[in-house]
Symmetry: C2
Subunit: 141 residues, 2 copies
DNA sequence: CCTTTGTTTAGAATTATTCTAATTCTTACT
DNA sequence: AGTAAGAATTAGAATAATTCTAAACAAAGG
């Protein structure tokens, strides 16, 4: 759960450019907030964290920035039931564990072979671009 | 994808009673609509189908009935991203395939051994009461 | 019957998110 | 530099799914 390799501002700009998007101070700070505390915050939580660094930013902009980061594949959206969307900058394929008691979310690494095994369960004709795995329960650690 | 074994009204009543709930005509028709067409309908879709049999039912009641059926474990809720909750009367452990193009949802059976393998990936201290697996992609069948 | 408790219902409220339209910023040309 | 065009930001309104509220209705038990 240690902070992931932060990509450089230049790399961020490049990734955005690859999707036809510009870099902006808002996008940089939203991204840095996400990598700074990888606890799968909601847009509201990101907003609160970003405001302390950039008090004039608006919630709409936070939503826009998050959308931009998702679009250029620097951030993943994570959903539990109908709760607010959460944001995850961990790009390695991984599953999520949602602790029902505390609401905390943990990344769970999965061996690629297991993911392949899962995919292989699909009947022919089903082409999956993505597999999403969520554990729900209680973490006593 | 054939209609699953319909449980009898008596069994439905029993299941409801087990959770301290009564059976009602509304709950029976909501349940029968779900088993009648197992395409993972939303509450709105259930509402539309139920209305043709019971035109006076309200949307609030459909939500209440669905909640009751979920509570007594006759129906599962299924969510894709932030879309409206869908309802599934297939009680066997299974995954879902969500066709991005058509919006259709298919049940995918999984060998219990594979589910066990997934669970075994959890670090000690993580007790999962539930695993949820969703494929996203395109079904050409 | 009468009471209690559960259920249904219509409509209001809530919540997360998206949309709108005005302003500001960047970029690229002249 | 000066200007036009396109992008991004912003505040606030709108939307959509769901839940809540409070009143009416129904069933069950004494
Ligand atoms: Mn939760
Ligand atoms: Mn879809
Ligand atoms: Zn994650
Ligand atoms: Zn299903």
């Amino acid at each position: 759960m240690q902070p992931t390799a932060q990509i450089s501002p230049a790399a961020l700009s490049q990734k955005l450019a690859d999707s036809g998007l510009r870099n902006t101070p808002q996008r940089e700070v939203v991204y840095s907030v996400l990598v700074g505390k990888r606890d799968h915050p909601t847009a509201d939580e990101v907003f609160a964290r970003v405001k302390s660094e950039m008090p004039t930013i608006s919630l709409a902009t936070v939503y826009n920035c998050l959308e931009a980061l998702v679009q250029c594949n620097l951030v993943r959206q994570v959903n539990f039931e109908r709760g607010p969307t959460r944001y995850c900058p961990n790009l390695h394929p991984h599953a999520h564990f949602h602790d029902e008691a505390t609401g905390a979310t943990y990344d769970i690494d999965l061996p690629p072979a297991l993911l392949e095994q899962l995919r292989s369960q699909l009947p022919s004709g089903y082409r999956a671009s993505d597999v999403e795995i969520t554990f729900r329960g209680q973490a006593t650690a």
